[in-house]
Symmetry: C2
Subunit: 243 residues, 2 copies
Amino acid sequence: MSISKNQLKTITSLSQKKYRQKYKLFIAEGVKVVNELLNSSFKIDTLFATDDFKTDISSDKIIRISDKELQKISNLKTPNKVLGLFMIPDEKPLQKNGLSIALDAINDPGNLGTIIRLCDWFGVTQLLCSRETVDCYNQKVVQASMGSLTRISIKYVDLKMYLIETKLPIFIADMDGENVYKSTLPKEAILVMGNEANGVSDELKTLIKNKISIPRFGETQETESLNVATATAILLSEFKRSY
Amino acid sequence: MSISKNQLKTITSLSQKKYRQKYKLFIAEGVKVVNELLNSSFKIDTLFATDDFKTDISSDKIIRISDKELQKISNLKTPNKVLGLFMIPDEKPLQKNGLSIALDAINDPGNLGTIIRLCDWFGVTQLLCSRETVDCYNQKVVQASMGSLTRISIKYVDLKMYLIETKLPIFIADMDGENVYKSTLPKEAILVMGNEANGVSDELKTLIKNKISIPRFGETQETESLNVATATAILLSEFKRSY
């Protein structure tokens, strides 16, 4: 068997968000990530796999292809046996309690992927994203999140409206905020992390009083700010360490 | 003016560690990173810059080139006005006190770059690397460390011997270690972080008693381990937060 022209066209189109939304499909690649998705509640549409990819899923979902064909459709430097098309699940209902992370216009797929993994590690089950944030079904996000994608409820919302309406306390990560090591952090809250270059938007900063920062210990003032994924790691650790 | 064949050959060769060591030169690119290096104790060898790169360094160090030529020598997706050859400085003498990070065979240049930035942020002035760790003058490390490279003393050592000889307490990041939130962490110590896939080598693990871990709060046991740079961020924060 091999890949039809139509299938090739679909696969290629899925690098664009509008086609992912149209077909309600996204791409995941490589044995590890594909197997994690197959073992989750996510539903498979089609697997394109070379003969050495072993799986027990129904054979009508698998199209066996050559290494050359895989090379052709793969977006990885080193294709690894399988490329899967999975269905984008419906968004879960909003959770109104617990600890959530909210992202204000995160651009970099690698950062979003890392933050999804962090949520999974720290038991944060809900991730809110402003509509300007990179799509979580972007393939680079899928690969970087390593299966954690299947365990986190990710919702794209009008972040300003959401934050106005919530009853939970809100904390913004901000360079000029209070020293996080000296702050009292509640168990239930929303932690807002901002864009890589500009931080949290001024609009949200005006709206929200609680601002927290990770103090700089280095002597020079020239040190670049911490990367957003790194800062999220440290702040999540602070929210969770005492509970 | 333009690039001579010999210069082109030198620039190309610097993607390999053996030539960086032979010529004692490394490459940095882009306005921001190059300016940080120019404003540091690092010494410039030659800048290859387009006319719109403004600088006050001596003109005999600058070769003005066209956008096309820059494109040819650049390793960035979007070349940004300048590529500089800088001299690799002599290693500084070992510091025997304070908090140091030691890396056991870190492979990924992006991870090393992020860890260098973290050291800078948290005031860790010495980074020890096992000889199997990726070279810190690898261009991807230089770009990812964003100038922090100039403020951290990085030393490649026989890590096992070093750890046997040091008088400082040593802590190893290990999945099976003691909960870091419940550990007493001294102000002066060496924190050992391990390889991306395998963690710290068994040899070192046998040698060193103190093992610390970041507890997993998520319910499922399937969560991937934390990325090494993310874990370093959290552990450094723990070492520093009470001082």
